[in-house]
């Protein structure tokens, strides 16, 4: 990938991120922040490659920490986002527990 192609990718990805989020309702801000937090967990892939190419003990140690942290970012981000989004339902989607409960 040449530098200029990388620059194009950067530019298009930046616009994509802006567009995707620009019409999001306030109620989804926290889950969406959490979701985007999960997405940058892709750093795991890079951390794995960095550790996979590490030679010295120092590099291996830092690489190990990197993979550990990245896996935490990806897995933790997924778990909390999923837990939050699971709770979103409209009053039509399920029977209201309110009427008839008493």
């Amino acid at each position: 990938m040449t530098g200029i192609v990388a620059l194009y990718i950067f530019m298009l990805a930046a616009f994509t991120g802006y567009e995707v989020i620009s019409r999001v309702p306030v109620i989804l801000h926290t889950p969406l922040m959490s979701g985007s937090n999960f997405v940058h967990g892709i750093v795991l892939v890079g951390a794995m490659v960095a550790l996979g190419n590490a030679d010295t003990p120092l590099e291996k140690t830092i690489g190990f920490i990197g993979v550990l942290l990245a896996a935490g970012n990806a897995v933790g981000g997924y778990v909390v986002t999923e837990r939050m989004l699971e709770m979103f339902k409209s009053s039509n989607a399920k029977a209201k527990p309110g009427p008839g409960a008493h």
Partner: protein, 474 residues
């Protein structure tokens, strides 16, 4: 040879699929109807990318990689599953910081390898990098490191481990000096003028310190904006390290998060009527100063039984939840109360200020957890005109977001912040733990209005009492 090419193609193709799944997932996450499936799509993308990376050409250290992945997964899964919904903001901060730390670690591995190559003599071509690459590694490294230590401080503050905002005169100057020193060292490494391991180490230490000193003076009220900012920064750092490793999935995912996170940060800062620079450098947030003496009148307490009657015979009640509801875990009781009222024919709406709680949407998540349908929940623009027709505005542990001082008092730090017009309701009931000022330390004029009554106590207990008194009416 052919084999290697095919494998490389398959890996790149998988990363491409991952990038598509991420964007698709984020798109679905931006609507409440499809949000649940969005995270599943994005999760599938992450799984594909992670599995494929094990087959990346030229990799060694597989036992180490496996151990780190498993350890990170177990710890994060365990803590992510058992964290309470109310503690979600600091958990996101923590996971986000981990991503930033990982990006910084990638930069560190690459830069240390460079310095190792330089000291073992030239000619070792495996250990040479272009200046563009080292520059990107350094930039991503400092951003990632700041995000890592800064998020850790944000976590500590929200978790209550760090209770004071440490401020002293000349703090901004110190921060600027640390930043400049880090940039000088980073510049040396980036331009490969001096890639000694000690310089690299000093650079990373300074970057970590900068994250700490930048975040320490910021008050808790501003933490949502700060967490969102660090989220965007981590995205950028990941994107930069993606350039270093020539990994398109990282570049795309990181940049998408970087720009989306920046937008989200701006939306939040705007909702609080603060500029980002103001949040980071003004030190407002829990200064406690500016208790302008414009507040007149007295606090008028009321009993829960009286409030129960008032609610039961109202036409329309608007509930304004705030952090106090989160702290007391009162969302389930509040919804139970509201269901009783709905059964009696009362119109109930929930009004959510964009920055209520510790993060935008924090209240929505809690209400969703309690089972409140999201179509009963309205945001500031939708609901503000309705307060005039409401019989009761029920404020539960919210403070600054309903402070009319923001409309009138030019000298107040929150002047100009859009607020919920709770003071326009016929009656205002404020459920509050004690008489202290709110998170920002600003006196709330709403509490002293003639139509306001104070209902003191823990929000959950008070809600239980209200349920009793409404039920007693039959």
């Amino acid at each position: 040879m052919h084999d290697v090419l095919t494998r490389d193609f398959l890996i790149q193709a998988s990363y491409f699929v991952t990038a598509v799944l991420f964007i698709f997932g984020l798109k679905r996450m931006s609507s409440p109807v499809t949000a649940r499936s969005g995270i599943l799509w994005a999760g599938a993308g992450m799984l594909v990318a992670t599995l494929v990376t094990f087959f990346y050409p030229g990799m060694t250290n597989y036992p180490l990689i496996g151990a780190a992945v498993i350890a990170g997964t177990v710890i994060a899964w365990w803590s992510g599953k058992r964290v309470a919904m109310t503690d979600m903001p600091q958990m996101i901060a923590l996971f986000n910081g981990m991503g930033g730390g990982a990006a910084a670690a990638i930069a560190a591995v690459e830069l240390y390898r460079l310095s190792g190559g330089a000291s073992s003599g030239a000619g070792d071509e495996a250990h040479t990098l272009g200046v563009t690459t080292t520059t990107l590694a350094v930039v991503g490294g400092i951003i990632g490191a700041v995000s890592f230590s800064g998020s850790a401080i944000a976590f500590g503050k929200l978790q209550g481990l760090i209770t004071r905002s440490i401020r002293f005169s000349g703090q901004q100057v110190l921060n600027v000096l640390i930043l400049l020193a880090a940039l000088v060292l980073g510049g040396l490494v980036a331009l490969q003028l001096n890639v000694d391991a000690r310089v690299v180490t000093a650079f990373f230490v300074l970057a970590l310190v900068l994250g700490v000193t930048m975040t320490l003076p910021i008050g808790g009220a501003d933490m949502p904006v700060v967490i969102s900012l660090y989220n965007a920064l981590t995205g950028l750092a990941v994107g930069f390290e993606g350039f270093v490793l020539n990994n398109a999935a990282m570049i795309i995912a990181g940049t998408v998060v970087g720009s989306a996170g920046t937008l989200l940060t701006q939306l939040m800062a705007k909702a609080m009527n603060r500029s980002l620079g103001n949040v980071l450098f003004s030190g407002f947030g829990d200064t406690g100063g500016a208790a302008t003496g414009a507040v007149t009148g007295s606090l008028k307490p009321i009993e829960a039984s009286d409030v129960g009657v008032m609610l039961a015979f109202a036409q329309k009640v608007i509930v304004v939840p705030g952090y106090g509801m989160a702290v007391a875990q009162a969302q389930h009781k509040i919804w139970e109360l509201c269901q009783l009222l709905i059964d009696r024919g009362v119109t109930v709406r929930f009004a959510i200020h964009p920055v209520a709680g510790r993060m935008p949407g924090h209240m929505n998540v809690l209400l969703a957890e309690a089972g409140v349908p999201y179509d009963l929940i309205a945001d500031l623009d939708e609901i503000n005109a309705e307060f005039e027709t409401a019989d009761v505005a029920l404020i539960i542990g919210a403070n600054d977001v309903v402070n009319p001082v923001a409309r009138t008092e030019k000298s107040s730090p929150i002047y100009g912040m859009p607020i919920l017009n709770a003071d326009k309701a016929k009656n205002v009931i404020v459920i509050k733990r004690g008489q202290g000022a709110g998170f920002s330390g600003i006196e709330n004029a709403l509490f002293y209005l003639d139509n306001t009554r104070m209902l003191y106590g823990d929000a959950q207990k008070v809600a239980a009492e209200l349920i009793q008194s409404v039920k007693a009416l039959g």
